[in-house]
């Protein structure tokens, strides 16, 4: 697809009706996403039925706008209230909230919005220019390659554990165990269901995560008595020179890795944001000036960029091969199919008009979101000043809604509340929660790719150069983590 087709796509998007739809999609997505405990998953679930009345191009424009809007909004409530609505905004909660407490909420919001914007625009250009050439990547990544990638990702857990690595690994294993509840994939044996119908469907990450962070944060605030955020100022938007330099570099790295990993089916933004967070953290620790855990701007910029870049590059395998990389892409694919547009190579040839309009709308949506979110940041920030007697119950209700909409299951509200108490208790005992979530996400991927590899042929591991590279990288990663850990221990000993 050349420039002229893309310009025709822009002409299509600049029609008042389409612009309005894109704007409304962004706004609705942001509104839902900004509610504490609600993120892209909930926003799509709540707003998807409304897109049924639109044509194929308009439906995708609106769906994408809602998706991106909810991701922007999700980071906002994560930064201001430490309540992420989706796993991918977890890093924003971990690093953004400490900044909010220091009265730097404005800067944190601006960095998140800026990084998302840059990644969104770069990602869109990527989909347009190199998308068709990279599509084959989705087919290169079979079970052995996926297994390698998951093994490598698991080593990032060490980078996520503040303090004891052993505790981090323990929590990751606990996450994997809980994620394995439900029906076995091949034999349909029940695993840890205790005969319960609800447990048979397994535990969903969304209610678990909302509980571990959202509900637990409400409990902690109640315990403290006074919410800290309430007293804090929003502060200016402009980052300092140093902050800008550090977050821009992280955003650049996040964009590239997020985009490339997003081409792989099964790679969700939740995984790539964690990888970006862990690698930025390790990078900072190697340099010896890590501020992670106390509001490191790299921990906001990198993961936010990775998040958006992954979301963008998911369109490459979808448009070129009809392979959805995650649930949202599956929905967009369904919307296309209903209108008789079959995703595939023709998306860049005979259906190029639709594709061009969609790509143009991504540019427009990213601009709308930036324009919408920077001025609104001040408004959203006022949320944190609502008296906690009002805000607390509202947050709890929103968390319940977020937990429910993931699968329309009342049981998930219970899961969310139980996870909330568990999250509060883990905080008390100093157990890191992030590795738990990482284990929860990677566990099922590890199991599936391992079993697929074994069923196909275990020998395929040795024959796959990609697997061997990842396995080597994983070993190096463990060794580096061990060295860093040793150094840290020596330092503590020296200080003592």
């Amino acid at each position: 697809m050349g420039l002229s087709e893309l310009l025709a796509g822009f002409a299509e998007v600049f029609q008042p009706q389409v612009l309005l739809l894109a704007f409304l999609g962004c706004l609705a997505g942001t509104m839902v996403g900004v509610l504490p405990g609600l993120g892209p998953v909930s926003a799509i679930a709540i707003l998807f039925p409304l897109t049924a009345y639109l044509g194929p191009a308009a439906a995708i424009v609106v769906l994408a706008a809602i998706y991106y809007g909810a991701m922007y909004g999700g980071s906002t409530s994560a930064i201001l209230l430490k309540i992420p609505g989706e796993v991918s905004s977890l890093p924003a909660a971990l690093e953004g909230y400490p900044m909010t407490r220091r009265g730097r909420a404005g800067t944190a919001l601006a960095i998140a919005a800026g990084a998302s914007f840059v990644a969104g625009i770069v990602g869109t250009i990527g989909v347009w220019l190199i998308g068709p050439h990279l599509a084959g990547f989705a087919l290169e990544f079979g079970p052995p390659e996926m297994l390698g990638l998951v093994l490598f990702s698991l080593t990032a857990i060490a980078g996520l554990s503040s303090g004891s690595v052993v505790r981090g690994i323990g929590m990751a294993v606990a996450g994997m165990l809980l994620a394995s509840v439900g029906l076995d994939l091949t034999s349909s044996q029940q695993r840890m269901t205790f005969g319960s119908l609800e447990l048979m469907q397994g535990l969903d990450i969304v209610p678990v995560m909302i509980g571990l962070f959202g509900v637990a944060e409400v409990l902690r605030t109640l315990e403290r008595g006074t919410p800290v955020a309430q007293a804090a100022k929003v502060g200016g938007f402009l980052p300092t020179r140093d902050e800008f330099r550090r977050s821009a570099g992280a955003a650049g790295r996040g964009t590239v890795t997020g985009f490339l990993l997003g081409l792989i089916p099964g790679m969700l933004p939740s995984t790539t944001t964690f990888l970006s967070y862990a690698s930025e953290r390790r990078r900072a620790e190697r340099k010896g000036n890590s501020r992670f855990g106390q509001g490191a701007v790299e921990g906001i910029g990198g993961p936010e960029a990775a998040n958006n870049a992954t979301a963008m590059s998911g369109f490459v395998p979808l448009f070129s091969l009809g392979i959805p990389t995650g649930p949202t892409m599956a929905l967009i694919m369904a919307a296309l199919m209903v209108y008789g547009v079959v995703p595939g190579p023709t998306m860049f040839t005979s259906d190029a008009d639709i594709t061009a309009a969609v790509i143009a709308s991504f540019f427009v949506a990213n601009v709308i979101l930036l324009v919408l979110n920077l001025p609104l940041a001040g408004v959203w920030a006022k949320i944190a000043r609502v008296p906690y007697g009002v805000l607390g119950p509202v947050i709890l209700v929103c968390c319940g809604v977020g937990a429910y909409t993931a699968r329309n299951s009342v049981f998930d509200i219970v899961v969310c509340l139980v996870a909330g108490v568990a999250g509060w208790a883990m905080g008390k005992r100093g157990l890191p929660v992030a590795p738990f979530v990482m284990g929860f996400i990677l566990g099922p991927m590890l199991e599936l790719s391992l079993r697929q590899t074994v069923a196909i042929s275990p020998m395929s591991l040795v024959e796959s150069p990609i697997f061997l590279c990842f396995a080597a990288a994983a070993l190096v990663s463990v060794w580096v983590a061990y060295r860093l850990h040793r150094k840290g221990v020596e330092k503590v000993d020296a200080n003592a």
Binding site: R407, S409, Q452
Partner: protein
Amino acid sequence: MRSFVRVAAAVCTAALLTSCAAAAETAASYPSRSIDYVVPFAAGGSTDIAARAGAEALSDELGVPVNVINKPGADQIIGVSSVRSAEPDGYTLLADGAGSSSIQGLLPYVPYDWADRTFVAKFAEGPHVYVVGGESSYRDYDDVVETAKRDPDHFTVGWIGGSSTSDYATLQFLAENGIDAARVQRVPFRSSGEVMRAVAAGDIDFGAGGASSAFSLSKTGKLRPIALTGDKPVTKLEGVPTAAELGHPGLDMRYWVGVSAPPGLPGDLTTKLADAVAAIAEDETVVEALDAVGLSPAVLTGEDLRADIDREKHRFATLSEQIGVAG
């Protein structure tokens, strides 16, 4: 203050009375409010798409909103049991299919009597497609059969947990051609879409899925559809032979989508709903939407439908005995 309480009490009583009236609704007044149409799968799959097309048409036909609600998980048990435990008032319906009815008859862990529900009507059905890799050495149907027969231990097929018609289509293929299903390597996947990707990439030898799951990849040439089940061709899979054309009329595994209700739905409501479902199957736009995802209208109601599903269950039982486990 007292008057407020009195007004509140009156409002509550009125509301209660209205809801009682609603419960005792007759076919003449039904439906008077929105209907929940529960899809026991996640959004985006073949059943979900067909159910959404059906819901929109049903909404026009009945004059009330029909809301699609996805309740995925646990081999469709969650979705089905939520509908079974709802009031049999016609306002909670199930987007039923083989995976949520006859196949459940084979699963030992289903905590209810699978047949204990009101089968209202089915409105659409579609064939499965058998695929091999575009760059594989398999040229056609007979090629695959020959290789698989020679060395079943190294023949890898996609498997989606055994609770879907796609898996039964695979079992039917193996049985029809005398390939030992217990020796074939079943590689687990989460959806037929993932199976198609793996076959196209050459990770596995063979896969089956609803016809629409092969639309995209077959256009790239990376996926080679070798046969469609049944005897009707599919518009978007031009040139793919049907099993009947290849001399295997026994390969007729189809998936279907319909409407079911909780046990005890009053007869007049069942009839009215069945008539509405039958009417939408003739609607041009619905037929078009179904065709876009490889389905065609196929209406079957009441006892005929129940008997059909019962037959289906027995066929599934025979097939699953080959691999020694139910489901």
